[in-house]
Symmetry: C2
Subunit: 338 residues, 2 copies
Amino acid sequence: MPTIEDVAREAGVSASTVSYALSGKRSIRQDTRQRVLDAVERLGYLPNASARMLAAKRAQIMAVTAPLHPDTDQSAHMVFALEVTKAARAHGYDTLLLVDDDASEGMRRSAATALADGIVVLDVAAHDERADLARALNHPAVFIGIPDRTDGIVCVDLDFAAAAREAVDALVAAGRRRIGLISHPRTAVLRESNFPLRFRDAFAAHTRELGLSPAVAYPDLHAADRALEDLLAVLPDLDGLVLNTTEEVAQSALDGLAARGMTVPGDVAVVAAGVAFPTSRLSITLDTIPLDAAASCGKAVEILAGIVEDGLEAPGVTLIPPTYLSHGSVVPAAPRPA
Amino acid sequence: MPTIEDVAREAGVSASTVSYALSGKRSIRQDTRQRVLDAVERLGYLPNASARMLAAKRAQIMAVTAPLHPDTDQSAHMVFALEVTKAARAHGYDTLLLVDDDASEGMRRSAATALADGIVVLDVAAHDERADLARALNHPAVFIGIPDRTDGIVCVDLDFAAAAREAVDALVAAGRRRIGLISHPRTAVLRESNFPLRFRDAFAAHTRELGLSPAVAYPDLHAADRALEDLLAVLPDLDGLVLNTTEEVAQSALDGLAARGMTVPGDVAVVAAGVAFPTSRLSITLDTIPLDAAASCGKAVEILAGIVEDGLEAPGVTLIPPTYLSHGSVVPAAPRPA
DNA sequence: CTGTTAGCGCTTTCAC
DNA sequence: GTGAAAGCGCTAACAG
């Protein structure tokens, strides 16, 4: 591998000139710069990463930490890791995947060894030990997801509350007034990231504001049938349904409606909101407010790069505005038979 | 962050003694070593990664490349990336995720900048430009999957041919003799990684060896119904079925059997072989010979670490022996009605 | 068994 | 506008 000295010799300049010609950190006469660039081209020179890191005190690497709790579906988080990687590349960073069993160990190591310039934290739980670590570590970190305590840390997430309100508004605009929500399993609502809570609470508050009676049901781990039953007990003439669930439960809910002879969107208008899957894979393509990994990760990386490069002060909690995608599963209610 | 000099001062020794005490690369008196370790502990010292890389010419980082062709399911590859990361950590390496749109660019960059000590190549296609690159690059690389030309490169993969034979043998041992294979879609068999071919050819050869008439069918992208039809046209009294398919197609095949009133394993014994999903998620838990990401990735990392650390000569193609997992979907055939 | 020293290849003052 | 030189923090000869 050629070094910067090789390039300097080839171009007939000094090493520092090569460095400056490549970084643009000071002005170089046009023709000398060209001689340097030609030499770089001819030799196929790329600066040695570790030497550059050592001298510049910048690794151009972001770490990504995704804890491996055994119950969770790994491939879901990995999509986020992928999106972080794509976004990071666009900012000139590579990404290091940290999956230590002890979630904190990798963070601590990458900070202490200066292996990475900053950390993107995935799959954030309500009580996340990595939040405390981030407060202590004095190393740039951005969380995708929102833990209970957000003081002293930087978070990015979809605005689940706004998503809930938009979903309700869409149904109300279509003349639906008996609107139910199928949320996440009770256990998950408590234990995991707090987005199911944020969604549910906003749903309840907003429906109440609109003079509707809020109906929320919690599915089992894989099936929505019981939840649907619960909803119909409260709202026998259900005509609007919001799904903030996994793909499996969403499909199960659609199956449940079909089994009861209820058509979508004729009898029940349905929208899937704050969900990580494309509704095109369901038996009926639903209107949706997606939990867009690319959007969250892109924003997180942008913020992290800002902190690393310009020492920008942390913007606290950044909520990504929801986007409503219509697919025909919400249409005006048919006039009711008298 | 404390440096090695800080530790040396704190322990009352020289920097090199600290280095050697930590690396164990030369013998150190027990009590001095202890003084060093105490100082390290007290200061919370971790060696700066870039300085270490630069001096040792070793990054302790493996790159992982997974090309992003848009049609492929990303989360599937990401599971492999995860397994590589876990295995690499066990060998003392971190992993850098490379997802450049141009698959080669990341490989070239990580090699030329010495950012990584070696590369694990995922999602290998039959004609993979990264194979040529690896031959040219003079940088350790291990492929998970087997391209057409394997000269000059190192590959690891499940022994799909052996898996096919074992699947057939299990069915034959259960008295089944009218055995069909549902393979991958025709287009995939040609375009992708060549494992569908290896599996299919071994299936055909082995059934023929056993005096059976080989029956192979190719599903559509998401459904197996037509393939099942094709199989039944050739083997109307089908009593054994091998599935080398995606999860979706496997489920579709089971649905197709049920729809035709054929029971599993009573009428048809079924085994899913060389598949990347756990059969427990299917409507019937099938006997399976899994394509075990952890096994392949573990082996690949082990080989790569050997090349990097000991300059071990590359072992060419390494095939992972298949493992047969019984779940009750292959039982002896019922005596046929006369 | 331990210390001194010379780099590793780059960035960035400082000097012209 | 360019060059010389001093590190960045570590490892690994080289000397005792």
